[in-house]
Symmetry: C2
Subunit: 242 residues, 2 copies
């Protein structure tokens, strides 16, 4: 990496809901889960009860589809007081397989935006979740050749970003991260002294919305669509050089 000039030397991209559609499919799977257990009990809060089980299991399962499906099976047994049929359990497992099989659908303007950034800075992909599934999605996206490195991590916190900066050979002040999650993509990078471009997505998992930007907001830009990324990056880059 080029560390000799001032300014930004490396740009990281998040993947799910930044480059391609993801949460929509999870939302659909959750709606289908609610229909399945809805045949046994009349509950307005099946979604919240599922989220409670997911949250409880997060420290054991980590992120990703497989852990979510195991939590769905467990929540379905709980919610139905163990009345759910084996056939309906199987439907839940099939929901998960559907999520894993889903083709990767790039969000509008993504290819052009990543190409434009990659023409000016080296770019890396940093995504969390299931190693096997994320690798498959990166492969299917057709974008993998643009990225110098693909990093799949178990958690996107300041500790992880600091380790990655050391591996990449850049200082935090030379790094900008592009992503849809304030909690995972923006806050930890700003905290370390880096830069961020926030691209909100129309739907976000409850777990990711719970974030506070304590400081560094002056090193962040929010954009409404990924098409605005090149100009936001130019703005941050100029600031980083000044």
């Amino acid at each position: 990496m080029d560390n000799t000039r001032g300014g930004i030397a490396l740009v990281g991209f998040d993947a799910d809901d930044t480059l391609w559609r993801s949460q929509d499919y999870f939302d659909q799977a959750q709606a289908e889960f609610e229909r399945i257990v809805g045949a046994y009990v009349d509950l307005a809060d099946a979604g919240e009860r599922l989220y409670a089980v997911e949250k409880r299991n997060l420290a054991l399962f980590g992120y990703g589809v497989k852990g979510m499906v195991l939590s769905m099976v467990e929540a379905a047994v709980e919610i139905t007081d163990a009345r759910i049929s084996a056939a309906d359990v199987h439907r839940i497992v099939e929901l998960g397989k559907g999520l894993l099989r889903h083709p990767v659908e790039l969000l509008p303007g993504v290819r052009e935006a990543v190409q434009s950034i990659a023409a000016e800075w080296p770019v890396v992909l940093i995504t969390k979740g299931d190693l096997f599934h994320q690798e498959a999605k990166v492969r299917d996206s057709g974008l993998s050749d643009l990225f110098r490195r693909i990093e799949i991590v178990s958690e996107k916190d300041a500790h992880t970003y600091a380790r990655l900066f050391a591996e990449f050979g850049v200082a935090a002040a030379q790094f900008a991260m592009v992503g849809n999650s304030l909690r995972s993509d923006i806050a930890p990078v700003l905290e370390l002294g880096g830069w961020g471009v926030h691209v909100p997505y129309h739907t976000t998992w409850a777990h990711e919305t719970d974030a506070q930007l304590r400081h560094g907001g002056e090193r962040m830009r929010s954009i409404a669509a990924i098409g605005q990324l090149p100009s936001a990056m130019q703005e941050l880059s100029a600031l980083a050089r000044s």
Copy 2:
């Protein structure tokens, strides 16, 4: 890494069933699975039917406990003709949680052997499977400080090793891999021109026993216990320098 002198410049270690006990727990979980479905059907081949489902799902789930448990749930529905109760499905999910929670138990002599090798060569850990679970096991093992890098990969084939050698900055001929699986640890490294020390474990998953060493056998040593690793490495190292 030191690439200037001839000989071996980097040693890689496999983790599961090389550094710590793993397959034993999977075998126990499978026996428990067979007891659970055995209450519904009188089958001698429940284990084979489970393995068939696991193998079918491998391209979708990858390796690791969570995929195995999802395959167990699916196999249980299949084997019992959808008669398995929700309570027994829940017991299967709990089997999986037990596997994920199990404390890491180092195999005898492992700490001394790794320390001895790490005193002479830089060492890295290369393991496949679930990112989240493998990271937790490395953390719990108390060995992570000995390793320069921890690489968790989705598949251990020649393609993956070649990518890692490029990231590590070593040639295949400078790399030796220590592990219990001919298929995952030894054959692909020998194929690329590297070195291998095979440490067989008393029990091996069916999937890992299916390997043929086509060439490079002269660059491999088999040892009966990890305590013999230092002398096996000295022998390979002398050969690599000659």
